[in-house]
């Protein structure tokens, strides 16, 4: 019997010929990642073990959540990470000015690659499945232990095959694909399982679409969300990844516990209503207009250049509606710089958007866009849990960049087609 992409990566890193779903394996890790919230407790755990770091080139420390520091305690957290990085000569430590959102900069800089096994003390580590890696979120104890041992245990996940057919229409992005999928299978539809994408539809998805889709595998409970390696992946990693890598492909007779089919050509712009990412609804099916007070465009889900391009094309010649504030957050310094060069930042500023330095900030209710009681936000982020972005009585509607920009202009949840 054949293996899935996830099984092949886990088998190789466990030093085994083959593994199957349910098996417990200990694997050697290619990259371990933490941020300014999760690294400090990981460092405490690491120090209690009393060993040196396993490999200073295989640890990434990205202070992106509450940085530039939002308060004194957050500054102390960043200092713990900085001191640790200096002491252990961590190669992939990113200081303010070079730092971006972790799941934007690691693929962008080729730090994660096809066939690699990555764990991160951040649930959206599953993003790297987009470049054909197996990557999954863990807590600070796992991460602290991994910084010392270079290993972690895994239960080989059962796999759900997501078969994509058709071609993605104009005005639809990866966000509409993943929100539709989560709406279909539910927020625990992939619990403990990997989502393995396949089918002819994959080739109509850009790398940005794929990064958005893999990023939100966790919102269906998934352990990973992995794409096959093709010419689009090859073109993306070509000038970024400096080390040799080995892509994986699923065997034709790989075993799946479930097959889910999505015809991309039928997709419409969707939003996820409060308070679960699976409360998906087509925008055209919204009966009563939903007035909003805030829009966020950015995050590890939708903070890449193509996302800003989509938003800029919708915003061009328009202004943010009265009574709405729109905050645009490029995901990395490179994204920011290129967006500036292409004139997107001018378009945002002319439209009365606020443009921020890269940070996770508002997505998790950290800072830079916290909401008051009763306020509603359309956000290109990944979670709309109760109180996620501020007051417990505020509401988050998740959407892609087309709908987010259109909603900012019209002051209500809207599609880009409605903006004229």
């Amino acid at each position: 019997m054949g293996m899935t992409m996830s099984e092949k990566i886990l088998a190789k890193h466990a030093g085994l010929e083959r593994v199957e779903a349910g098996q417990l394996v200990t694997c050697k890790l290619d990259m371990v990642l933490a941020n300014d919230i999760t690294a400090p407790p990981s460092i405490k755990i690491f120090e209690s073990i009393g060993r040196p770091v396993f490999d200073k080139e295989k640890i990434a420390l990205v202070p992106d959540h509450f940085q530039p520091a939002k308060d004194i305690k957050s500054a102390e957290l960043a200092k713990i990470v900085r001191d640790f990085a200096v002491k252990h000569e961590i190669v992939h430590y990113f200081e303010q000015g070079r730092v971006g959102i972790e799941h934007v900069i690691l693929p962008e800089q080729g730090i994660v690659a096809p066939g690699m096994l990555t764990i991160g003390a951040d649930s959206h580590t599953c993003t790297y499945g987009a470049v054909n890696g197996f990557a999954t979120g863990v807590g600070s104890t796992d991460l602290g232990a991994a910084m010392a041992t270079g290993e972690a245990w895994f239960k080989v996940p059962q796999a759900i095959k997501v078969e994509l057919t058709g071609t993605k229409p104009a005005g639809i992005s990866g966000k509409d694909v993943i929100l539709t999928l989560i709406g279909q299978i539910g927020v625990d539809g992939a619990l403990y399982k990997s989502l393995e994408f396949a089918g002819v539809g994959v080739k109509s998805l850009t790398m940005t679409d794929r990064l958005t889709i893999s990023n939100m595998a966790i919102e269906a409970g998934g352990k990973a969300g992995i794409f096959p390696y093709d010419e689009i992946t090859a073109a993306y990693v070509k000038d970024r990844v400096k080390k040799p890598f080995e892509p994986v492909a699923a065997d034709d007779d790989a075993v799946y516990c479930q097959v889910v089919k999505i015809d991309l050509s039928t997709l419409k712009p969707v939003v996820a209503f409060p308070h679960l990412p699976g409360n998906t609804k087509r925008v055209e099916d919204i009966e009563e207009p939903i007035a909003i007070q805030q829009v966020i465009i950015g995050s590890c889900t939708n903070g890449r250049l193509e996302d800003l391009q989509i938003a800029a094309e919708v915003f061009k010649g328009h202004k943010v509606a009265d009574g709405v504030r729109c905050i645009v957050i490029p995901g990395s310094p490179a994204v920011y710089k290129e967006a500036m060069k292409r004139g997107y930042i001018d378009i945002f500023l002319d439209a009365d958007c606020a443009v921020s330095t890269p940070t996770c900030g508002p997505c998790l209710g950290g800072y830079m866009g916290i909401m008051a009681a009763g306020e509603k936000c359309v956000s290109t982020t990944n979670r709309n849990f109760r109180g996620r972005m501020g007051h417990v009585d505020s509401e988050v509607y998740l959407a892609g960049p087309h709908v987010a920009a259109a909603s900012a202009i019209l002051g209500r949840i809207a599609t880009a087609e409605e903006v004229q």
Binding site: F66, D188, Y192, G221, G387
Partner: protein
């Protein structure tokens, strides 16, 4: 290990933002985290929880962020065990790693009510509801994960096995 305590009952999809909102993540001090635990959906929890009380949730308990601060906050509140229909996987891993036992009992969880008194044997997974007389059996932990749990967490396990 046999435990007895009163039930704090919560529903499906209790996410880690609810267990400990991100606005309190600028610290990782367990006591301080415990003082804000569950605050957005149940202000009375942090004020009234007693050492030894038991938390019971529905499906997909602990979904969302990987923040280990969430099981740490629950444990530091004095809760020695969490029972749910199912757990989100990162939360489940974190619970085992920090020595907070988590017992999965599927739909049986519907029979447990707020304020019931439970007796829980963590090593056998047998749960007795002393209020209703019901007895439930949790799914056993797989393979060497049992050893991690029995060691009191991953770090003790690594130290023992180095």
């Amino acid at each position: 290990m046999k435990l007895e305590g009163k039930v704090w009952r919560y529903g499906d999809n209790i996410d880690t933002d609810v267990i400990i909102p991100a606005r309190y993540l600028n610290t990782f001090d367990p006591k301080e985290l415990a003082s804000h635990c569950m605050v957005d959906i149940d202000e009375s929890f942090a004020q009234n929880v007693q050492e030894g009380d038991i938390m019971v949730g529905g499906r997909n308990f602990g979904c969302g962020s990987s923040r280990e601060h969430a099981p740490v906050a629950i444990k530091a509140s004095g809760i020695p065990v969490v029972i749910a229909a199912s757990f989100a996987r990162i939360f489940y891993r974190n619970g085992i790693n920090i020595g907070l036992p988590l017992l999965e009992i599927g739909d049986d969880v519907e029979k447990i009510n707020a304020d019931d008194k439970l007796r829980v044997d963590v090593s056998t997974g047998v749960i007795e509801d002393l209020t209703t007389g019901d007895v439930f059996h949790a799914h056993p932990l797989p393979g060497f994960v049992q050893e991690i749990a029995a060691s009191g967490g991953l770090i003790e396990y690594i130290k023992k096995n180095k």
